[in-house]
């Protein structure tokens, strides 16, 4: 079985947020419930001030702290699904301990006050157990893996678009959106990335492009000191999050 990993080249990323939009459309997430987001940072002051940005999906950690803390095993790492970390919405009790334990802040409890107005939960009220029922919904639904529109009272997160990836041919090294044979299996954020800053492939396959990129371009993992060992690697300058500092808005 593959071990799916993502490589994001920050020297190519333009911070356009197309990935964020594509993710929201693909996974029917609510506005603000950004399973994939681009974080923007500023650092320093003129003349050495910098503007940086960092695309941030779920890191699908090799040793995920969210999995360790979940009291019901609703959050689990599925080695038979490429090592993707899922939330089983049939088992999640909404205790939110996983959100406390995730160092990357990539988990969402959408049953909350709307992050962006208007509240689409009121405009498209939930039916058949869904938190909200948008008029267009993706055809795939698998609550055991947190795929589809979530029910109330559960935690949601990026699934590496498992509903697409899982249909890829067995043994494929990389899922490249430029390959017409594979394009339908590529995660939405990778497929839509205009400057082709994202790569998706098998970290266990020595021939994969993602492994070559990590090796040749010195790929790094964020907050590696936590020991979570993400399956998402970053290339290029700026792969780091400047420490929080309180500032006055100008």
């Amino acid at each position: 079985m593959a071990k799916w990993g993502m490589v994001i080249d920050l020297d190519k990323c333009t911070g356009c947020q197309a990935c964020t939009t594509a993710c929201g459309m693909e996974n029917n997430t609510l506005p603000g419930e950004n399973w994939q987001d681009v974080l923007f940072y500023s650092e320093g002051e003129y003349p050495s001030g910098q503007m940086k940005w960092l695309p941030r999906p779920c890191m699908q950690c090799e040793d995920p702290s969210c999995v360790h803390v979940c009291p019901t095993r609703a959050t689990y790492k599925d080695m038979n699904a490429g090592g993707i970390v899922f939330v089983d919405w049939n088992k999640c009790i909404g205790c939110k301990y996983c959100m406390i334990a995730c160092p990357y802040g990539v988990r969402f409890y959408a049953d909350e006050k709307p992050l962006v107005e208007p509240d689409l939960k009121n405009i498209f009220p939930g039916e058949n157990g869904q938190l909200w029922s948008p008029p267009y919904q993706g055809p795939d639904e698998d609550w055991r893996r947190g795929i589809g529109v979530q029910p109330k009272g559960v935690v949601s997160k990026c699934t590496f678009c498992y509903h697409r990836v899982s249909k890829a041919p067995e043994g494929v090294a990389d899922l490249d959106e430029d390959d017409p044979e594979l394009v339908e299996f590529v995660p939405a954020c990778v497929r839509t990335c205009p400057p082709k800053a994202r790569y998706f492939g098998d970290l266990d396959n020595p021939q994969s492009n993602v492994n070559r990129l990590i090796g040749n371009k010195r790929g790094v993992r964020l907050r590696d000191e936590t020991g979570n060992r993400p399956q998402v690697y970053y290339l290029g300058a700026g792969a780091g999050v400047p420490a929080f500092q309180r500032r006055e808005r100008s």
Binding site: K91, K121, G153, F244
Partner: protein, 400 residues
Amino acid sequence: MNDGNVMKGGAGTGLLVISLLVMVASFGYAASSLATHGHAAFNASSNVPWGQPISTYLYFALASSGLGLLAAIPLVFRVKAYYPIAKRCIFLAFIVLVSGMAVLAMELGHTFRMLWAIPFGMQVQSAMFWMGVLYLLDLLFLMWKFQRLEGKDWDSKAARQIGIASFLGVLLASGNLALIFGMMSMRPFWFDGSLPIYFYLTGIASGMAALVFYTYLAYGFKREAMPEPLQRLLTGNLPVLFAALLGVTLLFVLVRMVTGLYSNMPEVSLVWSDYILASPVYHLSLWGGLLLPFLLLLSPNLRVQSGVQVLCSVLVFAGLFAERYFFVVGGQVIPLFKGTWAWDIIHYTPSAAEWSLTFMGAAMIFVLYVLGEKYFNLSDSPVTTAAPETSRAATAGAGA
């Protein structure tokens, strides 16, 4: 049975009716808010996942543990002067924990699912799994112990063994509860191996406050109406122990504050400087809710006065409630992984629905308390007269 207990009469019935009304009203408000708005009725969010309902649960659970530890003074360590508070401690520990669990049940996304998903999941790596196991055992031991005391079995071998098991259960449950926070290395404000000690201290201080308040309430705030051994304890060693607990708690809080402020790490230092110490409510709770009662209880003349003891218990109960709130919320107010993208610390204030859960839990304690006072003799004790050995043992216990 003691006739001085006003809870057995009309006053108790009146308090029961008022508490019941508050409990039903606050539960009704919270339930209807949840039914109509879902968890959007809460101000907790994906950025601050644990808000006031969690801090309320934590507060009640630790107060219960504190009461259980106080009960261990006579029931495990055999300090006989403390027998008059043992039964009330056990009963209060039970009802405060039940009320805390009720608040937690209203906060969770799927409470009933928890009942099967946790036992069938058997996720022994999760501290929250152990929280369920250990607090369930704690409840069972408290019930068992109370049933023994109700049968006037104070000193049999079996009673002692249940007492020791209950004591260990309390230590493990509250220590594990601390580790739910203390093991989170990605939340530096909480990450602390000594957090169980902090939880024991604050838990036993809030337990003592509850014990003093509810003991006085049972007798209409008139100490002369209490049984003589209970009066002797309240004018002797118990206020000294109360003062000692507050002193050590203050020391621990101040040490955490100093180390936090000294740190360069924004997830710790900014929480203290820009959130906790920037709040007048925290200052009120720390200086008015811990330091003032400590100073009052240091005075040998003041600490034996009924009014001072009741005042201190109320101040400490309120002060430690705020301490819990700032502890829980403080660990989350620095935006996680957002770095300089975020401009400010996250602002969280509890919503009306979250407050209603706190009121519901508090009112539930009063309801169950009055029922307990009405139907049980919570001041029951095998000690009727003071012996010189008893006094010495009690002094040793208070010094410990």
